[in-house]
């Protein structure tokens, strides 16, 4: 079956364009669907009775929900380490995401609206440090934040601190700082993309109609950059939620442990069924903001098409 393109161009079989999705579909099947099914099989599977290692059960009929049920019970029981860790992670991610937005928006705004010919320079300048691996950058902060590190020295020099602050000894603020530092470029990029696409004439029209700078920003620029804000928040918050490395390097205490730490600790031990169950819970929780983002994107697209 072949059909002619509406614009009268070349002939293609009906399957031609959809076939372009084949590599991505295969990729998703192999590297998302299949691994996720293994996670399900571990969560609802059993343990080797001697070695206490995971025994995945691939037949859903034989799935045992004991571990998953136990995880859900603990998540909804006050005072459990699971609930404490989940709430702490939500708080850390929420604060860090808002902070990334507050830092990233002005930066993206400046580059998009005022950097003119220097856009590329500023973009590279802001992004270049992040070409270094995340682990190396966090290691660098371990040295900078140590008791006699440069951060304490500078703060003491300017009289902000009278004595060195022990930043690395399990301080939530240090973990949140690490998350902000690690993820802020992922907020800047989508924001810049959105702000850069806003027609200058739209802004100028608002100004011509008598709106001041602040009113123009609040009534025109900010609403038009909503998709960028949402995308940035999603891109930043989702990986933060599963992050465990930042906490391990910058704090590594009971009082600062994140949900990702709980998962890693579980899957490395005989609590592997519970660990896999935590992965499923995390996925279910993260679907909510993801769906909101998709819905919002659809609405915006349909509005734009009207």
């Amino acid at each position: 079956m072949r059909r002619k393109r509406a614009d009268g161009g070349s002939w293609f079989p009906r399957w031609f364009w959809p076939s372009f999705a084949t590599p991505a579909t295969i990729w998703l099947l192999l590297f998302f669907v299949l691994p996720f099914y293994v996670v399900l099989s571990v969560a609802f599977g059993s343990l080797d009775p001697i070695f206490l290692t995971a025994k995945p059960v691939f037949n859903p009929v034989q799935w045992d929900v004991t571990a998953f049920r136990g995880v859900l019970d603990k998540l909804f029981t006050s005072g459990t380490i699971e609930q404490q860790t989940l709430l702490r992670t939500v708080a850390y991610v929420g604060i860090a995401t808002v902070a990334c937005l507050l830092i990233g928006y002005p930066v993206a705004y400046f580059i998009a609206r005022h950097a003119r010919r220097s856009k590329a320079f500023f973009l590279i300048a802001f992004i270049a440090p992040f070409w270094i691996s995340y682990m190396m950058r966090m290691f660098a902060w371990v040295n900078l934040l140590q008791p006699d590190g440069y951060v304490n020295r500078i703060l003491q020099f300017f009289g902000v601190l009278s004595e060195p602050r022990l930043w690395l000894n399990g301080k939530p603020s240090t973990v949140i700082f690490g998350l902000i530092y690690g993820y802020v470029p992922f907020m800047i990029l989508p924001l810049f993309g959105t702000l850069d696409r806003i027609e200058r004439s739209t802004v100028e029209a608002a100004r011509d109609l008598g709106a001041g700078q602040i009113r123009t920003f609040v009534r025109v620029t900010l609403p038009l950059s909503k998709q960028g804000i949402l995308a940035g928040c999603i891109i930043v918050a989702l990986p933060m939620f599963g992050d465990y490395f930042t906490q391990t390097l910058l704090a590594s205490t009971r009082q600062t442990a994140m949900f990702g730490n709980l998962i890693v600790n579980s899957i490395e031990t005989s609590l592997v069924n519970a660990g896999a169950s935590l992965v499923i819970v995390m996925l279910l929780l993260l679907i909510v903001p993801m769906l909101y983002y998709l819905r919002s994107t659809n609405v915006a697209r349909e509005l734009a098409e009207r």
């Binding site: 080797d48 009775p49 399990g170 391990t248 069924n273 909510v288």
Partner: protein, 426 residues
Amino acid sequence: MAHPKDRRPPIDRREFMKRAAATGIALPSLAAILAACGSSSDSSSTAGGSASTAGLQLARPDNPITLPITADNPPIADGLPPESGPLKIFGYADYIWKKVRNQFGDSMGGVPIEYTVFDTPDEMVSKMQSNGSDFDLIVTVTLDNIGKLAQGALIQPLNHSYLPNVDSNLATGIPDFYDVGRAYSAPYVIYTTGIAWRNDLISDDILNMPNPYDIYWDTAYKGQTHLLNGSRDLLAVGLLRKGYDPNESDPAILDEVKQDLLDGADAMGWKYDHVDYTELGSNQWEVHNTWSGQMAYYQYYLPKGLDITALSYAWPPQGSGGKKGLLSHDLFAIPKGAASPVLAHEMINFLYDPTNAITNYSYEGYQPTVASFNEQSAIKDGYLPKSLTYTIVTPEMIPMGVTELELEPAVNQLYQQIYQEVTGGA
């Protein structure tokens, strides 16, 4: 196909929030539904396994175990020529110095050596189960795992005709109650687990405190106290502080110790890791639970201006308080189905040559279990600072120590649950 405008409109924000809230309410209900659907077995997570554990024998000093050699898992025959390699070693990072590995390869006519790293004993066991035959030599197996690996037929018996150095050079006093006759294993390194501290920052005579383990609970060092990250080592600190055995299985005692550890975790803000030597350079701790073998690394990681004499180490049985302390050794083992078992035997034998053992020690830091090794030679040759002499395990110390041994699987899982509660997964 319906026109886009005719399709079901997307849900508005209010509807979305309502549905999200409903999901939040539904999740606890899901737990209840799953409870109804779940199996009728014991609800504790220890009920996950289905096979019997009755055959598992737990070795103890007063209950030595001879691990069985079965017809389907025999040792290799005598007099076989070494394979052409490669020799695939599965071990902790840098647990055998690369130079020594290469020297062995050269001595065998240029055999290539491949070294794959694991981080924890649990990871090692897991990989041994899935693809153990991919490796020829494990460096190392801890005492609490050797019985399981042998009885699960994941490792093969050793043929001691290839190990003359082991039989002639093994240090005296090293027990073999976990594998009588060393049918499946050979000791590699020996060490104590004790308390390292910065004596330039802490004036307490920790070794001679009535209970040296109290130092981990001393709030004067809040935020500056690190413990080892592993369920056995963390629980051992709590158990030994209270005067219990580090292999305790009584749930009531374990619960008592858990509360003690939770109090400590909250009051002290403990950090959990086993990289005390790398943290030394950035002054991250004042007190650290550690292994004596790590102490030899310290001299290479000192921060600017700090001398090695500022580091002290206490192994509680040597103090006036008379508390018990951990002392253990790690083992070599050869996986069942290894492609180069003769080379693996030869490598073990090579490392029992006194010269090779001390060369390896000069980099690796953990004390080899060869009879000729002693602290005088280690200091004289410049491998160990004189101030760290007390990190050496002497034959007289061996009977004073207690060892982390294999636990019943359910007890082992309880240890790991307590560990997670205390550390929060950190």
